[in-house]
Symmetry: C2
Subunit: 318 residues, 2 copies
């Protein structure tokens, strides 16, 4: 196949579909018509690349969100991986498998992808459109950063910080699964997540030593910081910032938040962050030395050890 | 989701599956365990990125090829887009949607991807494994090159050259579609294509002005060179290098060849190329000035104009 915006001949309508998408995206789409997209990386910067696949009935259901929202959140999930490294987005590519039953919604999916790209400064640099029996969006995001924020590097003595308020995606999915309608602020956290790009760069500039974005729930992500850094993470469940009527347990297990979880000095000026971004920054635990036999992540409530909310409560698979 | 080698929790077996794949790939897989893969681009070089999606029953059928071959050809198709730009591969990422019915073949798919990466010098730098009802492999390939070979740039007076012998994939698919078994050399062209990486660099070093890889058939690709370069391409059908019992029409329409089609000086030393790569390099036409009212691609047989074999004979969609 040929590269960016591959147009398979012999499948009527692809050409028109891709032309329509390119027209819709306008100057947001670049590099069209060659086998690869081309990037120049600023001197001294490193290039980072993420890959994400969003599949109908695995990552979302058609009844829950609009086609625009599906495109938007799929792209934003990939872009959030750039934010997790404190990188600035350069571009995204889209490998779209489009069943006949989604054909009429093609441009709405593209609009959502375009929104996510536009709002984060990414260009749309390539794509591949295939038929198939199941809607899936494979999105790669490319960015650059001089010093990538990694999961490694947390130091005993650091505090554990999280951006935003947690629990929205889990509560939204729970409402849908019960046949209900989630409250708007919960729904928005599932349907319109935001990659915390500038927030991550602020955190690095203010001493963050390790970090990631919350895909699988805070409790689960904390274990990555512990394992990668060779440290122990103490998570104060009663400090978790809760959205709406989420419980601490909900907040610890809610995935696809795309908020940032970082290890950074306890002296971090959270109010400066909150002023800059109009987003909470909450100290939710501490980094301790690893101890033989001790669990790498320990949950506490009012200083007393409790069971760690385990398992990512991704939405039940149909 | 998190990046390279995303391991969705809550779906039993993913972790084991990905661990097994990483073990199988060994040092070929790198950058595991952070949100993004990180690349350093050599000074003065540009980064290029391709994206390709291979979907069961659209791009291949299970009965035709082995799981290893599916993994191999999917990865090689993406890597071939790097070759088309005369770039050297750095790495590939894999977004794999794996139905339950393919679960037992997961490692065989991974082995094929690994073979393609190993044989082209690419590392496996990231992945995302999802459930789904349909097997698809979304592969992105990343490479670097100082001066990308583009589709633009063909000059009137250049000759049109092609590597290899054409027709194999079309004849193989035709045999399968008829319920038969293709001859080994035809089957190999479909199942085990090769990205012409060093060949492309040789061609650039020897004056190639424009080029691409043959995804959709020579006749179709020639039109891209004509359109991008603002020139007219004359294609001598009787000069097409034929594999086995392929006709010139087969050779002109056979897609997924992944051979190179380039505009380059007529004085190119094809025998030096053939000695270096043990691969034919054949002059199959010429680049002419665009002429108002003239077709951008003109087919000839023994100098007489004939109808252009139109339409990419991708295999019939089920």
């Amino acid at each position: 196949m040929t590269g960016p915006f591959h147009i398979p001949l012999g499948y009527g309508g692809e050409f028109d579909a891709i032309s329509a998408a390119l027209h819709r995206w306008g100057p947001l789409a670049t590099g069209v018509g060659d086998d690869c997209a081309i990037f120049d990386v600023p001197p001294g910067e490193r290039l980072v690349l993420s890959v994400d696949n969003a599949v109908e009935n695995v990552h979302f259901r058609r009844a829950w969100v609009t086609p625009e929202e599906i495109g938007y959140r799929s792209a934003m999930a990939a872009i959030s991986d750039l934010a997790a490294m404190a990188a600035l987005p350069l571009g995204i590519t889209i490998a779209l498998t489009l069943p006949e039953s989604w054909r009429a919604d093609f441009l709405r999916l593209c609009d959502g992808v375009g929104d996510a790209a536009r709002s984060t400064g990414a260009r749309i640099v390539g794509g591949d459109l295939s038929r198939g029996s199941e809607l899936s969006l494979g999105i790669s995001a490319i960015g650059h950063v001089a010093a990538p924020l990694s999961r490694r590097g947390a130091r005993a003595g650091d505090a554990l910080w999280v951006t935003g308020k947690l629990g929205g995606p889990l509560l939204a999915v729970r409402a849908w699964e019960r046949g209900g309608t989630p409250a708007a602020e919960l729904r928005a956290r599932f349907a319109r997540p935001e990659a915390r790009i500038e927030e991550a760069r602020w955190l690095v500039a203010h001493g963050a030593t390790a970090g990631l974005d919350i895909s699988d729930g805070v409790a689960s992500e904390a274990s990555h910081i512990a394992a990668a850094g060779g440290v122990r993470v103490v998570l104060d469940l009663d400090r978790l910032p809760l959205l709406a009527n989420a419980s601490a347990d909900d907040a610890a297990r809610s995935g696809e938040e795309y908020e940032l979880l970082v290890a950074a000095p306890a002296s971090l000026d959270a109010s400066a962050f909150e002023s800059a971004f109009r987003l909470p920054l909450t100290r939710i635990g501490s980094i301790e030395p690893a101890a033989p036999g001790a669990s790498p992540v320990e949950a506490r409530v009012q200083g007393e050890r409790v069971e760690l909310p385990r398992g990512h409560d991704h939405f039940p698979r149909p």
